[in-house]
């Protein structure tokens, strides 16, 4: 890496920081938990770095470190997205039950999105809506 790359990366860093602030500046507290969990999943992108380290490793120490890093990062990615999806699944499960008021258009969206989310999650949310 040369100095020019550093400046480029730093530019990206500064702009991304602004985007990060801007994008969540008005989040309702009802979504604080899923948002935290969702951002948690996004930093699982560290897996890309872990793969590069393992793939370019030259000595045993680096291979071991890279391997551990890939395992940990995979945990982060999988756990992060699955936990977030489980949390959000519950929000959807409620809406068909409550046709009145603001739930109307959201309910339609939920029904449309449920099959796309995969066959494994759809029965689960139907089950939750039942009792």
């Amino acid at each position: 890496m040369n100095g020019g790359d550093l400046v480029t990366l730093f530019t990206v860093f500064v702009l991304a920081a602004f985007v990060g602030f801007e994008v969540i500046s008005k989040v309702p507290s009802i979504l604080h938990t899923p948002l935290m969990s969702g951002t948690n999943a996004v930093h699982g992108v560290v897996i890309v770095g872990a793969m590069i380290v393992l793939g370019q490793a030259q000595g045993t120490i680096e291979i071991v470190l890279g391997f551990i890093a890939v395992v940990l990062a995979t945990l982060n990615v999988v756990g992060g997205f699955v936990v977030t999806d489980r949390m959000l699944e519950m929000f959807k499960g409620r809406q068909p039950q409550k046709p009145k008021g603001a739930g109307g258009d959201g309910g339609g969206g939920a029904l449309g999105a449920a099959p796309a989310a995969g066959s494994t999650t759809a029965p689960a949310s139907a089950e939750k809506a039942a009792p």
Binding site: L35, A41, V46, G79, V83
Partner: protein, 461 residues
């Protein structure tokens, strides 16, 4: 288009997916789709990384991923809703650990003396922030999983020790910039772990949600640092996004508690009164407890009932039972809604998630500012497993560690009913004067058992 260009474009697409994901997660209707877009972006990034020229050991990579999926997927899928906070802490910790390891590995790979000072600084930042986040998250996990006490742990000279460890890290970092050695990086990493443990130990009680959010943004920054080390734009973008949004979320949450972030981090919340808190309650002061039937009558003949859920509701998995009770009361013409404190539970929004699972409609969940004026006209405030967030000490006693924290004005309701397991004070270890108030009635027992009894009693009326 060369493969390099293709990879860069793919990383750009992934980065856009992450931004859309965060944007989507900010609104209830778009949240789940946002999360899926984020996951898609992640798959794109991982898939294209396999195509990176010069990489080898794909078998090992796949093996490591299989191990990660085999552990992570069942853990995330099977964990109970109440254990979500500690799962988030754990998955956050491993991310920080991975970022620290990447920085160490890149340092080890570089031949001695070949790194410029700014590259050493990048490595150091990744190692320090990553290891602090890793160790801190593990301690937060242990506290929430009750592997260790959830109370703040303090000892003489704590601040001094933390300061010394911090100074040690800084001193060695300067030394590493001047004369980089592998052992220096290793020692700095170990000190980072030590600092992570030391700085989380004195944080407990209602401050844990803020802590988890802060550690989340730390991991984001550590990932961004590893992006600088590896010269990877996608790591810098995603890590910085998380770092920035996590910082903002942390600030929103500490603002909701009426405290500054440094105050939360360094003031050992609740530690001062932990020693006396239990004793005061046991000094023969009387509390009024009642049977489920009595309380059912009180509730059923009220005009307005406000339910205040807390961590006890989550522990008892009583969210469905409380909805059943609320619906029974509504069927009798009682006006029922839920008052949600921003930090009730162990994570921000914890109660919202829990009640959403039980199909409680949105419009029955009121946030603190909206709910507080309603208490004056409420016949009953039904407090289920909450304590610190309704403790009037936050308003009335300047000496209390929670003084200044905005609370739900439960004390203004005509009657207060507490469903509690025991007289033990809340997570923060502070006694609650409201329990001894003449207008307060207690129903002891597990929240779910008590609510089931209440449901049966209301039905029998």
């Amino acid at each position: 288009m060369s493969i390099d260009t293709g990879i860069h474009v793919a990383y750009l697409v992934a980065s856009i997916c992450f931004v859309i994901a965060l944007k989507g997660l900010s609104g209830p209707k778009t949240a789940r789709g946002g999360n899926l877009i984020g996951a898609a972006g992640m798959l794109i990034a991982i898939g294209m990384t396999f195509a990176t020229p010069g990489l080898s050991r794909f078998g090992l990579m796949a093996g490591a991923m299989v191990i990660g999926v085999a552990i992570g997927f069942p853990a995330a899928r099977l964990v109970k809703m109440t254990a979500m906070p500690q799962m988030v802490a754990a998955f956050n910790g491993v991310g920080g650990g991975a970022a620290a390891i990447i920085a160490v590995a890149e340092f080890v790979k570089a031949s001695p003396g070949s790194l410029a000072v700014y590259q050493v600084v990048e490595v150091l930042f990744g190692v320090i922030v990553g290891s602090v986040s890793f160790a801190g998250s593990i301690i937060a996990f242990a506290k929430l999983q009750e592997l260790m006490t959830g109370r703040p742990i303090t000892y003489a000279g704590q601040q001094l020790l933390n300061g010394l460890v911090g100074a040690g890290i800084l001193g060695l970092s300067v030394a590493a910039c001047v004369d980089p050695h592998n052992w220096l990086i290793a020692v700095i990493g170990i000190l980072g772990l030590l600092f992570g443990v030391a700085f989380v130990l004195p944080i407990g009680g209602a401050d844990v949600p803020v802590l988890i959010s802060l550690l989340n943004s730390f991991t984001g920054l550590a990932v961004a640092a590893s992006g600088f080390v590896l010269n990877s734009v996608v790591l810098v973008i995603a890590g910085t996004l998380v770092g920035a949004s996590g910082t903002l979320l942390t600030r929103m949450m500490s603002a909701a508690m009426g405290r500054s972030l440094p105050n939360i981090l360094f003031s050992a919340f609740g530690s001062v009164v932990t020693a006396t808190g239990g004793a005061e309650g046991a000094e023969g002061r009387t509390v009024r407890s009642a049977s489920a039937e009595d309380i059912a009558v009180l509730l059923a003949y009220s005009q307005k009932v406000i339910i205040v859920p807390g961590y006890g509701l989550a522990v008892a998995q009583a969210q469905h039972t409380v909805r059943e009770l609320a619906e029974l009361l509504e069927a009798r013409g009682v006006d029922v809604f839920y008052a949600i404190h921003p930090v009730a539970g162990r994570m921000p929004g914890h109660m919202n998630v829990l009640l959403a699972e039980a199909n409680v409609p949105y419009d029955e969940l009121k946030e603190m500012d909206e709910a507080n004026p309603e208490f004056q006209t409420a016949d009953v405030a039904l407090v289920i497993g909450a304590n610190d967030v309704v403790n009037p000490a936050a308003k009335n006693s300047p000496g209390s560690p929670i003084y200044g924290m905005p609370i739900l004005a439960v004390d203004e309701a005509h009657n207060v009913v507490f469903l509690k397991r025991s007289m033990r004070p809340g997570f923060a270890g502070i006694d609650n004067e409201l329990l001894f108030d003449p207008k307060t009635t207690l129903l002891f027992g597990d929240a779910k058992d008590s609510l089931t009894k209440l449901v049966a009693a209301v039905k029998a009326l």
